[in-house]
Symmetry: C2
Subunit: 231 residues, 2 copies
């Protein structure tokens, strides 16, 4: 089970899971995000990287508000590089990864899959608490105690759910190098929090939000041409 | 924040939270359950017990299948009392409480509420792993590590999210006695996994599923008349 947002990180996590020989089912979540083009991107990425199945779940987090990614709050642009990753920005969506991982756990359980892959990364990131290793570890414990698959495994001395975060300690440039080596077509991925779409429905990144800045710098530092279309 | 299913336990949990002086926001989740009358019940219960606000979130877990509560699998009837609570039954919905608690955490965070109440109970229950105290404790840790509210609190030495499960060690009869004392109108609640509705849309319980059997016995043991309409 791979949480696949359509962004650069989760596409790389999928490529890592595939390279380890896993049969992969990918899951995208439509949570009312303003950058909905990522849902389309996740489908393309799943196909390109040979996922066995791609699923979509809808949950409307807009009803809660509180984030620039779901509510009518402006996405910050051209922030100082030193400010990115310091403090929790307004693009933080309350408990998003907690909800996504919970849904992924439910789907994994119905499929009998015990390996979950997520593309979280706490080096070049936006400062979200739910991207850190400590959280991922706590979640794994929780998923095992709160499911039949997990509790059966514990009882029988077998391993239960494992949450893999293969990018957790990599810098963005290293993620891009790794994914490029594993055949990820980054032109299919989209990272922008505030993209436009062209007449064909393809995303055009703003180039100025935190996510665009981190992505741009990653390609630059990796010495790999950035295939992203910017405004 | 109170997770309010419309059943007996969560109604009592709401009454406990109210009796402790909390301003309560209730949350019901429409997950495609076949016993959808409980959504209507949760609204009535929220109003009767003076919730400040009642919210509904939709997430379609039917897409995953795997449970008699969401898929086209028969709900077991007239099971031996000794079998109920032993093993995980087919009415188990994969990772349901994990998903519900995650959504409640997200809503609580946007409202700035740090107290979550759930009606889980591991004495007279259906044998679901996500009703046990160990799981609830692990979830609290996870919620605090995975949110801005929680991580800010930890950093500043303040308490973060607290998950209250005031019924966790009570037998069903004790829950009913407690709720009756606190003014819960149990006629508004519905526990049946497989109810019919009358011409007015009011639920009529089957009387034979695990949940009906546990409820019936609870009222009997408490010596309190059971207001439930059974087929």
């Amino acid at each position: 089970m791979i949480l696949l947002s359509g962004g650069l990180d989760s596409a790389t996590a999928l490529a890592v899971a595939r390279s380890e020989g896993h049969r992969c089912v990918t899951l995208a979540v439509d949570y009312g995000q303003r950058h909905r083009v990522e849902l389309q991107a996740s489908e393309l990425v799943a196909r390109q990287l040979g996922a066995a199945d791609h699923r979509l779940v809808r949950i409307d987090l807009r009803a809660f508000g509180g984030s620039a990614l779901t509510a009518d709050i402006p996405v910050p642009k051209d922030r100082d590089e030193r400010a990115i990753g310091t403090g929790v920005p307004v693009t933080y969506v309350p408990a998003r990864n907690l909800i996504f991982l919970s849904i992924a756990t439910a789907l994994a359980e119905t499929l009998g899959a015990r390996h979950l892959f997520v593309g979280v990364n706490a080096i070049d990131y936006s400062g979200y608490p739910d991207c850190r290793g400590e959280f991922i570890e706590a979640f794994a414990r929780c998923a095992n105690l709160g499911t039949k698959l997990g509790t059966d495994a514990i009882e029988q001395g077998r391993p239960g759910f494992e949450i893999h975060a293969p990018l957790s300690t990599l810098a963005k440039a290293d993620i891009i190098r790794l994914g490029t080596r594993l055949g990820v077509d980054y032109a299919l991925t989209t990272s922008c929090y505030d993209p436009r779409v062209d007449a064909q429905g393809h995303p055009i990144a703003c180039g100025h939000c935190d996510s665009c800045q981190i992505r741009r710098k990653g390609f630059h530092d990796a010495g790999i041409p950035d295939p992203t279309r910017y405004s």
